[in-house]
């Protein structure tokens, strides 16, 4: 593999990993607050469509990206009403959210298939973009990729050092103790869930605004599920989410380049690689006993006080 191909492979890795990174970070935030939301795929799809439609009608990619996030938040709110307000089963509600989101986006989006909307294009960051090796890989991307670099450290600091972050983690670890401390458990759970929805919606709209400038039914093609799996791989840590998302994106980009270079391996095997990797990563992290790093009250509903 020549150095140019390697550089371009790594740049493609970042791009392919970015939508998954947004979604994984969103699910980490949600689960830190104690809510399990398996509806990531549905939230991403609705976010992708909302972003695409706003871009198509207003011509403003920034507005479109915001709309994608808000749409993801709206979907998360549905989950919140079912699980936080009415104490519904979180697994069932999450699965339903994915089915609902797929149908909703298909219903409103079908007529827009085949149209092109304005979106984010790549540009080189001043100074950083000129760096050897790192420049072409990390800093000749689009604005949304640059945004995604900032979220893991911010989220890490937020969860570790701020009152809100500590409150969210407390609501996910021990709702009873949190309530005894006089904190609003449900408020923190709502905040984590809605924040996670925004990030999932952003991840979806990355696909329709930057990765391509197109919409199609099922545009996310399983990336939401990968994100749910990567949360466990990441041990609920934002930094490790980056590792997981880029690993997955890298394998995805790598298998296509392997084909382009002319390998004798059957393409069916190559296309399987990213998913095999996900299963292997999950098995590995469970085997190491890291499952215990999950928030203690994850998936457990909290009765409203009074």
């Amino acid at each position: 593999m020549s150095p140019e191909i390697l550089l371009s492979l790594l740049a493609a890795t970042i791009q392919a990993g970015t939508p998954i990174l947004f979604a994984t970070l969103g699910e980490i935030l949600t689960e830190k607050g104690g809510t399990l939301n398996m509806g990531v795929e549905g939230m991403m799809l609705v976010g992708a469509l909302a972003g695409f439609l706003v871009a198509l009608h207003t011509g403003s990619p920034v507005l479109a990206f915001v709309a994608g996030g808000l749409a993801g938040m709206g979907m998360a709110a549905v989950h919140g009403i079912v699980c936080i307000a009415f104490l519904g089963n979180q697994v069932v509600s999450g699965l339903a959210l994915t089915i609902f989101g797929t149908g909703l986006a298909g219903y409103f989006g079908t007529r827009y298939i085949g149209q092109t909307a304005p979106g984010f294009d790549k540009f080189s960051l001043p100074i950083l973009g000129e760096l050897p090796v790192l420049g072409p890989i990390l800093f000749q991307q689009d604005a949304l990729v640059y945004t995604s670099y900032l979220i893991p450290p911010l989220m890490w600091a937020f969860l570790r050092y701020t009152r809100w972050g500590l409150g969210i983690r407390a609501a996910g670890e021990s709702p009873a103790a949190t309530r005894a401390a006089g904190l609003n458990v449900l408020g923190f759970r709502w905040a984590a869930l809605l924040g996670g929805g925004i990030l999932a919606g952003c991840g979806g709209s990355y696909l329709s605004l930057a990765y391509t400038h197109l919409w199609t039914n099922g545009l996310t093609s399983g990336r939401g599920w990968i994100a749910v799996a990567l949360v466990i791989f990441a041990f609920w840590k934002p930094g490790r989410a980056m590792l997981g998302a880029y690993l997955f994106g890298g394998v995805m980009a790598f298998q296509l380049r392997l084909q382009a270079m002319g390998t004798a391996l059957p393409s069916s095997i190559l296309l399987m690689l990213p998913y095999v990797l996900t299963i292997a990563a999950l098995a590995f992290s469970s085997w190491r006993g890291h499952r215990t790093e999950a928030p203690a009250a994850l998936g457990v509903n909290v009765e409203p006080s009074e």
Binding site: I113, T212, N217, L219, L256, Q259, M261
Partner: protein, 352 residues
């Protein structure tokens, strides 16, 4: 008296109505994807609109019908509602349609891209590979790196045939051109298909062709300043700076001919496989970057293929390993073409 005359008028109206509408042939279409996709189903729907414009014919369609049981329900429903002709335009509709055809002997069934027949069910498809040969000539003339990229859906004979025709066309104008193939196993996944095109551009391809319905590969070519060849419909609007031409479907004339034959009672169940001769397939207008002499050469070849003077798969043709598969002077039969399962020399890629 009054009541009687009203009744008479009513009867007269009914009679008038039945003479007006009785002969309207009802034609239904079943599509696998949305008609708005600017791709495969859109092309079929353009054909439907041509039929709709005929006298004494009404048409309707159902889009995004999943292959398998869903399609059987849709086809059965059309047959029950009194449709005279039903066109099902995807491979996976074959067995469901055959099942319904047996129960409705008076309805004419037309299945696209399959191989099973019944007395009232025919198959049809177009020789899109002829158009692909021509697009290959354009790509071969435009490439500087002598490496062409082909983003392909699934390794089935239809797609393999297209890749081979494209490679032969390119080699006809530029003998040592290579065609590199990447399989995506998708028909419409813009993200994956775009990424596949980028991976081909990374290894030195400077013209990207595709056999999927999404314009993702076109976007990738334009972003990198390379050239692109579209499929299904004229894809120039997605990548005006890179689009050389497209291999396109033009179903209108064929659909009109079939419906006319059914109206006249001359229709027979058979396998229809028309090409440039009937105008079912064609190439889109050339982009402004294609030089005049290349255009002239390609259009001359188009006439030769349309008239039957030139066959795309005429020997000598060698396979990837260099072994001669078709001797000089021989021409591959339709049966061989329908079962194509090997790549010609100069194609880099696997068949799995």
């Amino acid at each position: 008296m009054m009541r009687k005359s009203i009744l008479l008028v009513f009867i007269a109206l009914l009679a008038l109505g039945s003479t007006c509408f009785a002969e309207d042939l009802k034609v239904g279409f079943v599509y696998v994807s949305p008609v708005g996709d600017a791709g495969y189903s859109y092309a079929h729907d353009q054909g439907r609109l041509a039929v709709e414009a005929m006298d004494g014919v009404t048409t309707s369609f159902v889009e995004s019908v999943a292959e398998g049981q869903d399609s059987e329900r849709v086809i059965l429903n059309m047959a029950r509602k009194g449709y005279d002709v039903i066109f099902a335009t995807s491979y996976g509709y074959m067995d469901p349609m055959l099942k319904v055809a047996k129960d409705f002997p008076k309805v004419t069934f037309m299945h696209c891209s399959g191989y099973k027949n019944a007395p009232n069910m025919a198959n049809y498809f177009g020789r899109i590979y002829q158009a692909r040969y021509l697009t290959g000539m354009v790509a071969g003339a435009m490439t500087k790196s002598k490496t062409l990229g082909y983003v392909a859906a699934l390794p089935i004979p239809e797609v393999i045939r297209g890749i081979n025709a494209f490679a032969l066309g390119a080699q006809a104008v530029n003998p040592d051109v290579q065609v590199r193939v990447v399989w995506t196993k998708t028909w419409y996944d813009p993200a994956t298909e775009k990424e596949a095109a980028k991976s081909l551009l990374d290894v030195g391809c400077d013209v990207i062709a595709q056999h999927q319905d999404s314009p993702g590969p076109q976007e990738a070519a334009q972003e990198r300043g390379a050239y692109s060849i579209g499929y299904n419909t004229d894809m120039s609007s997605f990548a005006p700076k890179s689009h050389l031409t497209s291999a396109v479907w033009n179903w209108g004339p064929f659909y009109k001919e079939m419906v006319q034959q059914i109206k006249d009672g001359t229709w027979k169940s058979q396998f229809y496989w028309y090409g440039l001769d009937k105008g079912i397939v064609d190439i889109a207008p050339f982009g402004p970057m294609v030089p005049g002499d290349v255009q002239k050469k390609v259009l001359a070849k188009k006439l030769e293929i349309a008239s039957g003077a030139y066959k795309v798969f005429s020997g000598p043709i060698r396979d990837q390993a260099g072994k001669e598969k078709v001797a000089a002077g021989a021409v591959m039969s339709d049966a061989d073409l329908l079962g194509f399962n090997w790549f010609v020399q100069g194609v880099v890629g696997t068949l799995e």
